[in-house]
Symmetry: C2
Subunit: 268 residues, 2 copies
C-alpha cells in the first residue's frame, strides 16, 4: 500500500508523543508505544537528538529539547499574524479592563500565541502554548463559522455533540443559523463556555473571504461587564480583526520588499 513519507511521519510521531501527562519517555516505553523495532526507534531518536528537538537526560529518559524554544522564538518574531496583531492587542487591553488574545488554529486545536492583559485579576484556563479544543467557546465559532461550506459542514458534524452539550443548538441546521448570524455580525460571543463566569468575544482573522487562519478574542468578567460595554468590545474586536485581515491581505499588493515587519529582516 506504499504509504507516503512513512518514515518521516514515524519520526514526527515520536516528537508528538510527548505531552503534559507524559513528558518523559525511556526507550522501552517508546518501543511499546510506537511498536517500532529497537533499531529503527534509536535511529529516529538519534536524528531528533542531533538537531536538538529532543534530549535524553540520564535517569529521566527522552524529553523535548531546547531547539523548540529556538524555533518558537523565531516563529514569534516572524509570524505576520502576531507581528501585526500585537498592537491591536495592546489597544484593546488599554481600552477595556480585559484579557485580549490572539489565537491560531491548526489541526483540531486552537492555540493562544500572544496576549495582553489589563484586567486586575485575569483568569484563563488556557495560557499561551496550551491548546484548547475546537468545539466550544467564542473563538471556535468565530473560526468555524467562516470556513468554506464543505469544510464547515464536516466540522459541524464532528462537533455536534459539543454544540448540544453547551446548548448552542440541537441540529445542524440550527448551528448553520447561528453561524450565519456570526458571519453577519462579524463576531461570536460565549458566556462561560471555557471558563465559568468569563465572557468571550471573538472575531476571525481572514486571509481571504472564507479563509480564517486565526482569531482575535477579548474576555471579560461576566459580573463586571454591562451589555453596553460588551457591545462596545464586540465592535472594537471586529474592527481590529478586520484591520489585521486587511493588512495581511494587502501585504503583497504594496511591495514585497517594503518595510513590512515580516520582510524587513530579509537578506539584503
Amino acid at each position: 500500500m506504499t504509504d507516503t513519507l512513512a518514515s518521516a511521519e514515524r519520526l514526527i510521531s515520536i516528537l508528538l508523543l510527548f505531552s503534559e501527562e507524559k513528558p518523559a519517555w525511556n526507550s522501552e516505553e517508546l518501543m511499546t508505544a510506537t511498536s517500532y523495532s529497537r533499531t529503527s526507534l534509536y535511529r529516529y531518536l538519534k536524528t531528533l537528538k542531533e538537531v536538538g528537538l529532543i534530549v535524553s537526560l540520564p535517569q529521566h529518559g527522552y524529553m523535548l529539547g531546547p531547539r523548540l524554544t529556538e524555533l518558537d522564538y523565531l516563529m514569534q518574531r516572524s509570524d505576520p499574524v502576531i507581528l501585526h496583531g500585537s498592537r491591536y492587542l495592546q489597544r484593546l487591553a488599554e481600552s477595556f479592563s480585559c484579557s485580549a488574545f490572539l489565537t491560531r488554529w491548526y489541526e483540531q486545536k486552537i492555540l493562544c500565541v500572544a496576549s495582553e492583559v489589563s484586567a486586575p485579576r485575569p483568569r484563563s484556563s488556557y495560557p499561551r502554548g496550551r491548546p484548547m479544543p475546537l468545539g466550544r467557546g467564542a473563538i471556535s465559532r468565530a473560526i468555524l463559522a467562516h470556513l468554506p461550506k464543505r469544510q464547515r459542514a464536516a466540522m459541524i458534524a464532528q462537533y455536534m455533540p459539543d454544540f448540544r452539550q453547551t446548548k448552542l443548538a440541537q441540529t445542524t441546521e440550527e448551528v448553520e443559523m447561528v453561524f450565519r448570524q456570526i458571519r453577519r455580525r462579524g463576531y461570536s460571543i460565549a458566556y462561560g463556555e471555557v471558563t465559568a463566569g468569563v465572557v468571550g468575544i471573538a472575531a476571525p482573522i481572514l486571509v481571504a473571504p472564507m479563509t480564517p487562519v486565526a482569531a482575535l478574542c477579548v474576555t471579560l468578567e461576566e459580573k463586571e461587564s454591562q451589555a453596553a460595554q460588551r457591545q462596545a468590545v464586540a465592535t472594537s474586536v471586529c474592527q481590529a480583526a478586520d484591520e489585521i485581515s486587511q493588512i495581511l491581505q494587502n501585504q503583497s499588493a504594496v511591495d514585497h520588499r517594503s518595510d513590512s515587519p515580516v520582510l524587513q529582516l530579509e537578506q539584503a
Copy 2:
C-alpha cells in the same frame, strides 16, 4: 551509499531553514535552496503542515507554525533542568542586583531557556530563545571545561580562533590550563565578552562527573560591581549549580513516582 534516514532528515532540514534573516519562504525559493524535486518538496511541506510545524500564508509563503509554541510550552513544563533550576534563579535574583540565566547546550549553540531579572536596567544581547554561539563568554567555558577529554580537545581546536581573539589564550595548552582552573574553582568568569560592560559568572550543571547539560549564569554591570561582590556571586552560582546537579542525579535514587516536579504529572 544508502544514507540513514535521508528522507526524515530532508524533512527536518526544511524546518531548520527558517531563520531570523529569512523567516518566510515560497516554494520556488525552497526548491532552489534544497534542490529537492517539486514533488518531494511538496510532500515534505504537506507533512509538516499537517502537524502544524509550518503554516503557509497566502502572499507570505511558508513559515514556522504554532505547533512549535505548543511544544515549547510543553518543554518548559517538563524539562527537569528548568523545573528545578527556576527557584535558584529566583534566589539569585533576590540576593543580587543582576540577571540570572539558565542555559541549555546543544549542537554548537547555547540557548537561554529561563531567566530571572532584578537589575534595574538589564542588558542582554541574547534573550530567551535566541541561540548564542559557543566559543565566547562565561557560559561557554563553564560547559566546555567540563567535557570529557576527547570531546573537549575537539572543541578547543574548533574554537581556538575565538579564544585567541578574546585573548583568553594563544595555544591549546593555555586553554587547557584555563579550563583546569575553571574545573578547580567550579565557575568561569568573563568580562564584556558577550555584552560590553557586562560581567558573566557561570557554573555548569552536570548529570554525571564530566557530563554538562546546561549552565547557570549571573550577569552584573561591570561598573556597578566590586570584586568582593563578584566573589560572593561566584560562590552562590557554584552552590546553586551544584545543588541543581545533585537533584538531577539523585532523582532516580529516590523514587520514580515521588513528588518530583517532573514526574508528578505522569499518568496515574
